[in-house]
């Protein structure tokens, strides 16, 4: 007899995450419009919500063109990788106590592994397109994501040291008395910056940088293959927001309201911050990005880990 409970959770998680990722297209356009003193899409259906349906119908019915000069296998594989890795990462995200697909003892490491595997999608897309702008985008993405991954992992280790576990439910339960954002504020800021860089959102979208590289690594993509990159990016945003909530803001813990609602509110807040960043910040130059990552943020992450370790060792 197969236990149906995990299958139910998987179905629920997929349903919520995929719908949210689709809906975010509308949320982002509306919020950006609000902050830029415009209306945004408000014609299709109530509040323009039908825009999501219209957009997805358009994406599915558009011509799906694979350029003859492209490396076909890798070209088709690339958009699948980004969606698959970011959806797999949700396997270890607990939405409430016990509401998780797989509560692995290496939860955080699994998340880091999935985010580092996500690099392949951009790199392969850039290479297989056989287009110089796409290749430049792919190279930028590979260098950027590898560099920012290093201190992304290191900034998380402060939380791991305090909680004494890689398991995400343990980390959330250890925050009953105090959210980790207070003792690990430096770690939180570092992880947030790394998270934005990992999702390749503005101001770290140098891999696509439309003003210099057309559309970067996905210049040659059309139809739903382009849509997969689009959706993959939003899933990444949801994932990083969920991680911020779980590791630094007490996850599902909160008074009065039920646990999943708290988790949802906190995650949505960070998603909105992601969108606000896009509306507010300019894009840095690529060499500035790299030197920032290696010369400022990496040493800061190491110092943060050192101080945290010293405090834990002293038993404060």
């Amino acid at each position: 007899m197969i236990n149906l409970y995990p299958l139910l959770i998987i179905a629920a998680v997929l349903f919520v995450v995929l719908n949210l990722a689709g809906g975010l297209i509308w949320v982002e356009r509306r919020l950006l419009a609000l902050w830029q003193d415009r209306y945004g899409p408000n014609r299709v259906g109530p509040f323009g919500l039908g825009q999501v349906v219209a957009d997805s119908v358009k994406l599915f019915t558009k011509e799906d063109w694979i350029p003859p000069f492209a490396d076909k296998a890798a070209f088709v594989l690339a958009p699948a990788v980004v969606v698959a890795t970011s959806l797999l990462a949700f396997a270890v995200i607990p939405f409430a106590a016990g509401f998780v697909v797989a509560d692995l003892s290496i939860g955080i490491l699994f998340l880091l592994a999935m985010s580092s595997l996500g690099v392949y999608s951009v790199v392969l897309a850039g290479w297989s397109s056989n287009n110089k702008y796409a290749l430049l985008g792919g190279l930028r993405a590979a260098a950027q994501m590898l560099s920012y991954e290093v201190f992304m992992g290191l900034s998380l280790m402060g939380v791991v040291v305090l909680a004494g576990s890689f398991r995400i439910t343990d980390i959330v339960n250890a925050q009953r008395h105090m959210w980790y954002v207070i003792p690990q504020f430096a770690g939180f800021v570092l992880f947030f910056i790394a998270g934005v860089a990992e999702t390749r959102r503005l101001p770290f979208d140098l891999a696509e940088a439309e003003s210099e590289l057309i559309a970067g690594f996905h210049s040659e993509y059309s139809g739903m293959k382009f849509g997969m990159f689009f959706v993959g990016e939003y899933i990444g945003v949801i994932l990083i927001s969920a991680m911020l909530t779980l590791l630094y803001f007490g996850g599902w813990l909160g008074p009065v309201l039920p646990a999943p609602v708290w988790f949802g509110i906190k995650t949505l807040f960070f998603i909105c911050v992601f969108i606000l960043l896009r509306g507010a910040l300019p894009r840095p130059r690529f060499d500035q990005l790299m030197s920032w990552g290696w010369k400022v943020l990496l040493p800061l992450a190491l110092v943060n880990l050192l101080i945290t370790g010293a405090f834990v060792l002293a038993g404060v």
């Binding site: 490396d71 296998a73 890798a74 594989l77 692995l104 003892s105 290496i106 490491l109 699994f110 880091l112 592994a113 580092s116 595997l117 690099v119 392949y120 790199v123 392969l124 850039g126 290479w127 290749l135 792919g138 190279l139 590979a142 260098a143 590898l146 560099s147 991954e149 992992g153 890689f166 130059r285 690529f286 060499d287 790299m290 030197s291 290696w294």
Partner: protein, 197 residues
């Protein structure tokens, strides 16, 4: 669990064979990534989740990305695939084939000695791994860190941009020239660290 172990082992073996026989370098690397992923599953099933995670993060997620990165930069085209054909002549296979046959015989002997070599009972936690690493095996950790530091220093030396006399006199240090030197340092450092690791 035994079924998962054998299934992912078969995937690993087939993917590794395909890695060797592909003529396109990027395709070969991708099959190697698949092989590493399958081996990570093997580790996980055998009760070593920490090693499985490291396999994913370091090998599949960092080192192989650097390999792909370098191959992308080299821009090897059709003619490289043709020269690869040379490697597939029977004479080139003789030496490696013999060496591999010795290993195969050893594996066969081991398997025949103890039936059911697969043991997936106890899970080794990351804390146990850390205690072992910084307890009895601390010398290994120190040696590895020495090696990595040497690699880093070497990469820095190789990636350093030689300043010509003319520039030194004029004191040219435009944004562009700095950007170039940094780009070179980063890519050289990346290639180097993959060797050291």
């Amino acid at each position: 669990m035994a079924f998962i172990f054998y299934a992912s082992s078969i995937v690993a073996v087939v993917a590794t064979l395909l890695t060797i026989t592909r003529r396109n370098a990027i395709h070969a690397l991708l099959y190697l990534v698949v092989s590493l992923l399958a081996i990570a599953i093997d580790f996980y099933v055998m009760g070593a989740p920490f090693v499985a995670a490291l396999e994913l993060i370091i090998y599949a997620g960092a080192i192989m990305v650097l390999f792909v990165f370098v191959v992308m930069m080299l821009n090897i085209g059709e003619h490289a695939a043709e020269t690869e054909l040379d490697v597939f002549r029977p004479r080139a296979w003789l030496g490696p084939g013999l060496l591999a046959a010795v290993l195969l015989a050893e594996v066969a002997r081991l398997v025949s000695l103890q039936s059911g070599a697969y043991t997936g009972s106890t899970e080794i936690s990351s804390k146990q791994v850390a205690v072992a690493l910084f307890g009895p095996y601390v010398i290994g950790v120190e040696l590895a860190s020495l090696l990595l530091t040497a690699g880093l220093v070497g990469a820095y030396h190789l990636g350093r941009r030689a300043v010509s006399r003319e520039e030194e006199i004029r004191g040219v240090d435009t944004d562009e020239s700095r950007a170039v030197s940094r780009g070179a340092a980063v890519s050289a450092g990346a290639g180097r660290s993959s060797h050291a690791a």
